[in-house]
Symmetry: C2
Subunit: 209 residues, 2 copies
């Protein structure tokens, strides 16, 4: 199949959304936890988490202010803090269900059966079922005027992962932790490592580790 | 393992980079192709491609101006166009090798054995070996002052994928196309679909398709 701009523009809205949401390849699947000023929790699955830098440890997240993500955006602006929790194979159904348009007074934890876990002094809930989770503090926002989305930048101030998923070089192996990959809007995938590559150098050919 | 801000700040630089680059879960693996005014090609593997919106079809990419990605940034600013090509299992070694710090006069195509493919009127090369590829035109840039990275937003003006990887609903299935997922800085993974979930609605439980 080959498509040019006019073909894409002429597509039926849901078909175009399915196509363009799947065109980047595999995505991360993370649950973002927040709370309002009264400590009422909110949880939303997101595929737009992006590494921005390691020192300081910064991650970016794209939010659509006109969607269910509005609750997340309101909460993290008010509290300045949010959690990110990896989706693994055993919680796919509940994680996906957090995308439903629940009214503001309904917590997606209660609605989906996931369990809130609170750290002292952190006004955002972790997902107790997650193997890998972290707490971020809001650092910077950018309004992307081209389509009204919001880029939210946070610093990781706490992170947690099973010792079994830690590699010798300090990296986390999401495959060992059972973290899933997301494709398009609805497909969740397990992974199988094909190759781990050594640091690339101009004077050496590609080498496997 | 549990780490707080001071623990992360105290880590040795490469261990911290390995950790924070792996903390978001699985990432896309894409080759970004550009050319300078003389038509000299450049190719760089990137894991920071992000869906921004479907109408118009917009993708974002984070570039680090102080790294090898400088050549990509210079080229796409000058030409206004770039290509994105999925990495699949057969080209992992060559794709990873494009991350080496080649001097500006060396094309990563020649250095890695990947093949340039030019479309009429497009001053950026596609990767002939890729199954899924697209052409983007630069639309907007945002400087992220917090750490000096650059968010580049482009519109998809052309895309191509095998008919066999197209689903009935219009989505592309990257698993059928052999697209790999990336974890951390160096691991490439094949995938196996676990579940495909129906559109989530508040009044219905999670349902598989």
């Amino acid at each position: 199949m080959q498509l040019r701009s006019p073909d894409i523009a002429a597509m039926e809205r849901r078909r175009r959304a399915a196509l363009i949401n799947s065109i980047t390849g595999f995505k991360s699947a993370n649950l973002v936890g927040t709370a309002d000023a009264d400590g009422k929790s909110n949880l939303a699955i997101m595929s737009s988490l992006l590494h921005l830098g390691s020192n300081p440890p910064l991650l970016a997240l794209v939010l659509r202010p006109d969607s269910v993500e509005r609750h997340t955006l309101d909460n993290l602006r008010a509290s300045g803090v949010y959690t990110v929790n990896h989706v693994h194979a055993d919680i796919i159904g509940a994680a996906h269900q957090t995308a439903a348009r629940y009214p503001r007074e309904v917590s997606e934890f209660a609605a989906t059966g996931l369990t809130e876990r609170w750290l002292d002094g952190v006004n955002a809930p972790l997902v107790a079922e997650a193997n890998i989770c972290m707490v971020l503090e809001l650092r910077e926002e950018h309004h992307l005027s081209i389509n009204g989305t919001q880029l939210v930048i946070g610093e990781i101030v706490y992170l947690e992962c099973p010792d079994s998923a830690l590699r010798d070089d300090g990296a986390i192996d999401p495959e060992i932790a059972g973290t899933v990959a997301l494709s398009g809007l609805d497909s969740y995938h397990a992974t199988r490592r094909l190759r781990r590559m050594a640091y690339a150098k101009p004077e050496l050919p590609p080498r496997e580790l």
